[in-house]
Assembly symmetry: C2
DNA sequence: CTGTTAGCGCTTTCAG
DNA sequence: CTGAAAGCGCTAACAG
């Protein structure tokens, strides 16, 4: 009765309505006037049969699949999950589907797959959230040239023409520096992201305007990495009263390492993160952090891509830089060596 | 030169190789013998042109899109992100794409969309991760009948024929009960999930075998909810020395509420969660919890769905129940009123 | 306001 | 071993 193994075709609806498939098509798209009574009848039939036009056939004619792709290192990370959610919202607004592809350490076989999806027109365009940079990305983009592409969260300097959606992390880093300076800190160390990432460099540069002597260690954005780098600093006897991590995970790892070494946070060492992940409110002490709205990053990336695809207003296709916000919580306090 | 606005067609490859499209098609699929030299030439051309067969055309002929759908309440939640990651792994193994659709509070408009995707054959099958149950789900499944469907993480009793992948949560609850009993606890309260969910009921039932008097409060799996329910218990003066939450988020909320009320964990109250989220290792004290392997839930769900689609071995299409593991950390300790 | 026809790019008979 | 031709379900000229 309903939901047949083989779905209804437009032809069958047309026959049932006593019209041609053309008329059904137009009743559906509105691209040509249709007799109101006929249209009414067609729509009733469509509802009754629960008819939905075949996506493959539509795609073959129109050239557009109404599916956009999202390439992220790992969907199961909170960070990329937020981006995915935002992209999905944008896709949904425009009645598009979202296909996700994890790049997993930039595995070449995986990378190939979403390029092929672009070529096969499985997807109409791609949002690429790189957590690394380098030749593979350049290559990706060069080979994807001609296809609609948006970079989420990370700019790539070699590709100024590809629209991107990023956050004002330098501004965030300045706010952090100002806070620490006001609290009397002078010895700061930095647990940074991957070297070479624009967003990493921007933060380091901003911080160094205030603390030129700040030591920079590079990690991989994981808790474990923050833990290890902090332990390294402690073991090496590097003097510091504040630690700025490029994301909350590394900050949490740092707090754990400090506790294990008997240092109190924030009495002995202040710790700051970036992102404002859920974890930031949950650790003890709660983490001071620079909030980035990753859902919005995803949403805006999606909107740009869709505008690119539908030939919308060029103003809607420009790169976007979103604000950040310093959220002060319990992990920051006066420098221990500061004058009371 | 490469990556033209309009991709190469099989016809063009055929012309370049001096053969017909038929032969190219067979060189690609191997469904018919092709002269090795000709095949060699064709493959070289394909590589050179970076030709990829059009997905829409293939789909139109074959009826299969090689895309599977995943419906989750919210991809950006850690929990569903893990499932998504597992499903994607399975999809990738079988060279399929993964389209994700968030159901967002079971918004009917959203629910409609992935049913339509099934009908439009945008996706070949669907993995449904319900966090609620009720009429909408029944309806979903009835209307999706005929389509390949797998339930991830949650069984639906009214649908015994739909394959599902779940975890032995009752076993986990028993392990928790045994632990608490051994620590001398007698007064236990439960911060449960949605009433009506099979996985919620299973846990409650198991726990009640050991603690028949345990009070059960239902929450929504969020930190805030655990916080609120625990505050309610404290305000109401309900006596308890242990709290079992149905996930780690609610357990974390409970710990916070307890701290705010001046109760120490685990000296005054022991707290246990479920899932073993990253957050569990990060809170103070670290959370005792029942680990569920959500990536594996996703992976197995994906494999079952793909087996269903390719008409594989029926043995690969049966429901699966995965083990759980009790992970004891710092949030549990001897009952305060227990004999030393 | 409506129908006929062609064709999107591929796979699969059927016919060498 | 290979090719010609039909057709998947839809949309867009073109022709009333």
């Amino acid at each position: 009765m309903d939901a047949p193994a083989r779905p209804w075709t437009m032809e069958q609806i047309a026959r049932a309505a006593g019209v041609s498939a053309t008329t059904v098509s137009h009743a559906l798209s509105g691209k040509r006037p249709v007799n109101p009574l006929t249209a009414e009848r067609i729509h009733r039939l469509i509802a009754q049969f629960e008819y939905v036009p075949d996506a493959g056939a539509r795609r073959l004619r129109s050239g557009r699949s109404r599916i956009i792709g999202l390439a992220v290192p790992d969907v199961s990370h909170w960070y990329f999950g937020r981006i995915a959610r935002g992209v999905e919202e944008a896709a949904d607004e425009a009645d598009h589907g979202l296909l996700v592809a994890s790049t997993v350490n930039a595995d070449p076989k995986r990378e190939r797959r979403y390029l092929d999806m672009l070529r096969a027109r499985t997807i109409d365009g791609l949002i690429y959230a790189a957590s690394r940079t380098g030749s593979e990305v350049d290559q990706l983009v060069r080979r994807a040239s001609g296809a609609a592409l948006v970079l989420a969260d990370e700019r790539i300097e070699a590709l100024p023409d590809v629209p991107s959606v990023t956050s004002r992390v330098a501004e965030g880093a300045h706010a952090v520096a100002r806070l620490l300076r006001d609290l009397g800190h002078t010895r700061v160390a930095e647990l940074a992201g991957y070297p070479g990432l624009v967003s990493t460099e921007e933060r380091s540069r901003a911080l160094h305007e205030w603390f030129p002597a700040a030591l920079v260690l590079h990690g991989d954005f994981e808790v474990e990495s923050g833990h290890r780098l902090t332990s390294d600093l402690l073991r090496a006897g590097v003097p510091f009263t504040a630690l700025v991590a490029h994301n909350d995970s590394m900050a949490v790892g740092a707090i754990r390492a400090l506790h294990e070494a008997g240092r109190r946070v924030p009495e002995d060492v202040s710790v700051v993160g970036f992102d404002d992940m859920e974890i930031a409110r949950v650790v003890t002490p709660a983490l001071t952090t620079v909030r980035k709205d990753m859902v919005e990053v995803g949403r805006r990336s999606g909107r740009i891509l869709l505008s690119l695809l539908t030939g919308g207003d060029p103003a809607d296709q420009r790169s976007v830089v979103l604000p950040t916000e310093l959220v002060v919580r319990g992990s920051t306090g006066p420098a221990p060596d500061a004058p009371a």
